[in-house]
Symmetry: C2
Subunit: 306 residues, 2 copies
């Protein structure tokens, strides 16, 4: 048995293809495209890649994307004042402050900056008011990664209502909003985490298992009920050739790819799960592209709602 | 076997006994007591009773409690303007708008009024910003009934971390915030609801079972793992003598009490559960008194935080 691939690349392309004419219509109506403003502070290499992807994909889909770069030496006040300016700018529809902010800004900087974003422009859905509206089932903007997972399931016609969903991980960005969205779709939802006893047994109760813990290949076949749907939200670096061999097996083309590139990524789900799940989202090519597609959707939604 | 009683009356009294000197100290320091303002629109008999209890208990604990009564014919604008005035009033620390508002105000009135309350004075914790802060684990004010349940468990030294908690019901007021608070305490949390398949089996997985569905005596022994802790959040009317007999048994003093008074209340949990649970909160005398105690605590917290 081999699991159906939950193809995030194709699903994201389908979403963008639906968005493009809506964005074009908005642009024709308003005389300008919906505008996403991204704040990028410092020079975290991962963030550079993510922001480039968001900008390119956004522009290809018809959005205006403006990236505001600030050096790692920027002060908290400078970042807050940049966000305040974007809040006040009528031509800015969506604001995204790329995480993580440089450590030098201090531990509470990120939350303070997120709290400062006008909720109506908060396309990441990190502002507490938007999180609260999500709990209450009346969100206008929904967090990108969890709503991307829902799209992936719904468009593959995987039933959610009444099914048991287990979310592993309880982060503010993925785990908790994921659980809330699955609950909105009438799943019976369990949230597991580092303090959960007998995690594998809890995971085996899932009809739909969402892994968002940030531990490479941690979810093995022992965590999966035969026939379950497994969504892998993890994006972890492959550390070494040996690490690649250990995860993928010596003969895997992914080991060769790691050797050729010197790097690679792996999800939270072990590849062996493909042999037991009925459907599985790959990493890369699963949830990742959907996160960006939902960001673009949120930008259009924010523009239309204002 | 008979379950230990989770005594809400005693626990609420203990909380109020802790609050009273803190409230007195605040009053001495500021020259006025923390002030809870309750808005009561219309003449729902249940609401009259609840508001009277809140006022009496609040005043006994040292708070100032002001009740703003408006007739059932009040307009939405009048209620919103009353709340706006309380938001602006520096001598008002906490605002509670008693639910339900009269139907005549329209379906969306309640949410609109709750959204209008200054989050810093939102002692019910219904404002989306406070709900979002709860999700993010940085609440200042926590919703009264769920945080009362946590107090009931913690003060009875019932371990929560790592245990399986099942919450039956997903209301904004109890079910969802209850799940979030149990998750903050490191429980492995499952939320069940009307669409859950094989609800009894899901409930039997619980080490801690919280029932908040509003269905009289619905949770029978078949829903409870032997030795589980069961918290009953339901407050349902006993409909008739026959209803009382059916729930409590013909020889129960609660049937005689119903016959004498012509009314009575019953929780969501069937009395037979006392024979299988290790601990059980009664109705009345369980969660109800704690809801009020936590309201008083929130009023003091709001006063101190402002």
């Amino acid at each position: 048995m081999s699991a159906t691939k939950l193809d995030g690349v194709a699903t994201a392309a389908a979403i963008r293809a639906e968005l493009a004419p809506q964005i074009a219509a908005y642009t024709a109506r308003k005389g300008r495209a919906p505008a996403l403003h991204i704040v990028l502070v410092g020079d975290d290499p991962g963030s550079q890649v993510y922001v480039r992807n968001k900008q390119r994909t956004g522009e290809q889909t018809g959005l205006t994307v403006v990236v505001h770069r600030r050096p790692a030496t920027a002060t908290r006040e400078e970042v807050l004042s940049l966000v305040a300016g974007l809040n006040a700018d009528d031509r800015c529809d969506g604001i995204l402050v790329q995480s993580p902010l440089p450590h030098a800004l201090g531990k509470t900087a990120e939350q303070q900056v997120f709290d400062t974003i006008n909720p109506a422009k908060d396309v990441d859905c990190f502002h507490p008011e938007n999180v609260g509206r999500l709990v209450q089932g009346r969100q206008v903007l929904a967090p990108c990664t969890p709503s991307g997972v829902i799209e992936l399931l719904v468009r593959q016609q995987i039933p959610i209502a009444g099914r048991r969903a287990v979310v592993v991980g309880r982060s503010d960005i993925v785990g908790k909003p994921m659980a809330l969205l699955l609950l909105q779709r009438d799943a019976t939802v369990t949230v597991c985490h580092s303090k959960t006893e007998d995690l594998a047994a809890r995971c085996r109760e899932a009809d739909i298992l969402v892994a968002a813990i940030g531990r490479p290949a941690f979810i093995t076949a022992a965590f999966v009920k035969p026939g379950a749907v497994v969504v892998d939200v993890g994006i972890n670096p492959v550390k070494s050739h040996d690490h690649a061999v250990q995860i993928f097996g010596a003969d895997s083309p992914r080991v060769a790819a790691f050797d050729a590139k010197g790097n690679g990524i792996v999800g939270d789900v072990h590849p062996e799960v493909a042999g037991i799940a009925s459907a599985l989202s790959p990493v890369p090519g699963g949830v990742g592209p959907l996160t960006i597609a939902m960001l673009l959707k949120n930008t259009l939604t924010a523009a239309m709602a204002r």
